[in-house]
Symmetry: C2
Subunit: 304 residues, 2 copies
Amino acid sequence: MTYEKVAVLGLGLIGSSLAHAMRRAGGMGHIAGYEPTAAVLERARAAGFADSLHDDLAACVEGADLVVLATPVGAFGGLARAMAPHLAPGATVSDVGSVKTAVLRDVGPHIPAGVHFVPAHPIAGTEQSGPEAGFAELFDGRWCILTPPDGADPDAVAKLGAFWERLGSKVDVMDAGHHDLVLAITSHVPHLIAYNIVGTADDLSAVTKSEVIKYSAGGFRDFTRIAASDPTMWRDVFLNNKDAVLEVLGRFSEDLSALQRAIRWGDGDALFTLFTRTRAIRRGIIDAGQDSAAPNFGRNKKDQ
Amino acid sequence: MTYEKVAVLGLGLIGSSLAHAMRRAGGMGHIAGYEPTAAVLERARAAGFADSLHDDLAACVEGADLVVLATPVGAFGGLARAMAPHLAPGATVSDVGSVKTAVLRDVGPHIPAGVHFVPAHPIAGTEQSGPEAGFAELFDGRWCILTPPDGADPDAVAKLGAFWERLGSKVDVMDAGHHDLVLAITSHVPHLIAYNIVGTADDLSAVTKSEVIKYSAGGFRDFTRIAASDPTMWRDVFLNNKDAVLEVLGRFSEDLSALQRAIRWGDGDALFTLFTRTRAIRRGIIDAGQDSAAPNFGRNKKDQ
């Protein structure tokens, strides 16, 4: 029970990793990649992870029993409209987008009768992007969340879940709205905060850019990794998960004001209590196999 | 030109790493460690990085030509007062504290005539703590900032700088106030933000703790590493660098409000512009050898 032809639309970090992971798993059917920009298509060809590459959307999705949208989410609606007439009956349309309510809204209306629609989000990535950035191990041990709309075909959902498990993922199913709130806290707001502190540092004229760089091992460098993530992808995430991001951001700012007040008034106990509580979450993440237990993420000792 | 006896007061991550790095360098004189808590002293003994270990401060500093304060900075004043009568003439007193104006304020007045005082701050660390956490390579390629007070003896400053270079560091000299502002942006505020977002996540009752942990690979896990740092040390940092931290935090919050507004009003261009600018800083840090260029900090592929 696997797919015979998988069309991957968008060949960046996630799209190319998906192809590499399918190749590693073996027996996963034909991998067709779509990318409209000639230069990027050429880079994908050089990276060599697809069985066929297309700058023509119809040719890519033709006969595919799984179509995966893997561009920035802002492009999903247009792609869905354009590919709809060419989808094979019985095919499943899915995606790898970091937001899910907006995907239901933008893609759902274009899905023809007789085609399944099962949005998905693999919680995995690096700060790198482009067709060269992908690798087969990206999804190993990470969670992939499926958010099927009401009335989705259970067999289509189960088949997509089994597909992700063969790529190394663990699979969860949840409501799109809950997904968007969970990801706002575990991914979107952390990215926003990282982008913001790096911007603030860059603007602080009393401290030179070279000082910010030289002394970044004090903690700042961790934030710059996240703040080096793909700008288009992240712009689209924030534009398409506005409500959950603003809700979590409101709570973050409230909590930060309380910390700011504790510092101003010298309330060491309040600081100590928070700083102790947060250690337990780190322990939980390591115990759950979601991060390295090595100091400094196991950066090479010479790079620590 | 090295020290004959180095007294290290406090045997946590930095104190123990200092001892390990001296051993690695070789020919660095006697290493005497001080730790008042019997259980911690025993752990230091088991770790085996010192030539002598003491729960008596006077015995530890007696005859030392370099004394390094390596406890949380809140304890510096008391230690300085207690050890002052036992310091050898011509000795240098230094430290490894993350704040420097407060160290001048708390330690300076206790330094006897004929004893040098050269505060220092190695910009290096991990999220781990305790006598077992230290390792010899911690300071390799990292910067150590010296902040000698006005009128400090140039030879004493040069000798301490040469000492840190032998431990693998690069050495800079700057004014304590400037140090505190630079570190507020490259270390203190990033830590505060990390502690804060982990606290906010822990409090958000609509998202369970197990969901926060499971889906942390979306970015959140990076923050939990920093938020697992030693609570006592960090409480003392914030209480002792109040002005610079509040100044930088004010700018951070201002910038975050602007981003929040851009999200609310769908200003994708503003988001894209910031997200593009921040990538350059990451590149600068990697080019300067201050972080790993590997994706996800080079976490083992299975841990990515």
